[in-house]
């Protein structure tokens, strides 16, 4: 509560009531108020239910989304597609990151390319991948794998580059062969950065999987949204979109917390 009161130092006497409320609660109350307004606008006929159905109608669509549209199965499918893509990115990206670290000429020649590739709008090339792989899971996995790959490569290199010189010198003074030096010293010392790379790979893979599923109308949650839109099932479409947004938020929140916990460990 004392933290919340600090607002008064920024604007003296501006608001006597708001500081007594914890910020998190204020955020939730505002969200609830906006939903209530939306509900009221729908009830008063100010908004067409065909364009923006009432929140209560969206909530009521969830049982049908689960039983008729297989929401949870689609969630599992999307999640596993993201997991496979991120897993492949880790398997392929870690050795490449190590190579860029170990061979200085390779790092200097290709690191900026990998960074540019990370910033490149790969998703725009999805028609090209459709030509190569067809409208199937291959397109989703390959595109999401490529989206997740640069973060693993860059973070692996960054992690290995940042290992303290003194640790390497200790290993050398113990006459460790290079392989042992890598497994016993360099890899454990760079684990926190590697974890960040894995987390980013998971996040990028999930975003990419949902986006590509939607664009090519195939797969799990993304396809469901596109299907519902084409069938003009507006409350269920809103419900599916809300579910994707909530799932993404929970996913980002959890992976961030796990990463912090691992860092502390």
């Amino acid at each position: 509560m004392s933290k919340a009161l600090s607002i008064s130092s920024g604007s003296p006497g501006s608001n006597a009531l708001a500081p007594k409320l914890p910020p998190g609660a204020a955020g939730l109350i505002t969200l609830a108020a906006l939903l209530a307004l939306w509900q009221a606008a729908d009830a008063l006929g100010l908004v067409s239910p065909l364009i923006a159905p009432a929140p209560s109608d969206i909530a009521a669509s969830f049982p049908a989304l689960i039983s008729d549209e297989g929401l949870l199965q689609r969630f599992v499918q999307t999640f596993f597609e993201a997991l496979i893509s991120a897993g492949l990115a880790v398997i392929v990206g870690t050795p490449i990151g190590w190579w860029l670290h170990a061979k200085r000429w390779a790092g200097r020649a290709y690191e900026t390319w990998v960074a540019s590739f990370a910033a490149a709008p790969l998703v725009l090339l999805y028609p090209l991948f459709l030509v190569f792989f067809g409208r199937n899971i291959g397109t989703i996995i390959v595109m999401s794998f490529l989206t997740a790959l640069p973060s693993v490569i860059l973070k692996t290199k960054e992690g290995l580059d940042s290992v303290r010189r003194v640790l390497i010198d200790v290993g050398r003074s113990l006459r460790m062969p290079p392989a042992k030096l890598f497994w016993k010293i360099m890899l454990p010392a760079s684990v926190p950065t590697l974890c960040t790379g894995v987390r980013l790979a998971l996040v990028y893979a999930l975003i990419s999987v949902v986006g590509i599923e939607f664009l090519i109308n195939f797969g799990g949650l993304g396809e469901l949204i596109d299907d519902l839109a084409e069938r003009w099932e507006i409350p269920m479409m809103y419900g599916a979109i809300s579910f994707v947004v909530l799932t993404s938020i929970c996913f980002f929140f959890l992976t961030e917390r796990i990463e912090r916990w691992l860092m502390r460990g």
Partner: protein
Amino acid sequence: MVDARLAGPAAARSWSPVLPLRVATMLALLVIWEAVARSGLVFEGVVPSLVAIGGALADLLTSANFYWNLELTAIEVAVSLALGASAGIVVGLVLGARPFAGKAFEPYVHYLAPTPKIVFLPILLVLFGVGPGSKIAMGALSCFFPMVLSVASGVRQVDPVLLRVGRSFNLSILQTVRKIYLPALVAPIATGLRLGSGVAIIGCLLAEIKMSNRGLGFLVMQYYSQFRIPYMYAALLVAFIIAAGGNAVIARYLRLPGK
């Protein structure tokens, strides 16, 4: 498993063939592509030769139809950037300047920012129709989040002394924003604009690819559905260069205010 740092100072001083290596890699990739295209191992329609793609690109860049479509995409991107960035600056100012508002609402922005915006397209199509409106909304939604987060973070770094001086001069909120916040926020706004422009271009193009009857994205899908694959590659190449190059150009020119 040789560590670069174990190689010794002699290796560090040795000549590093970075540029030749990059050129050689690029050439090798192009040669591999051309070899695969001409080998007959892959259907020619899927991997067209570089000559065919080059010819299609030349055709595309000299056709009026291409510029007619490009014009709409450019307008959509510009309007979406103006709308999304303006809204982002206002919201970012509020979240950054008011700690209570920041703590209450910024977590929502923070966690909504990385969600795939493309899933909102059906709602935008319902709200704004299949015309440029939904593409503009898509671009604006995409660039709103990076701008909010960049500006909110920038506001928190404004020197508190300047704010106290402003209060001692009894500046109004508008004067505080105009005289203190905005001059101090040129660099964060430039960063937000750079990040936002990239995602706005992608948002507009994806919305066009998904559903439209004009624009660069529409052109890509038209070539795809007509199986004019060299033209599709050429149009994708142009879209990709605009999206990636636009970001690089803005980054280059907007670096000035930060210095």
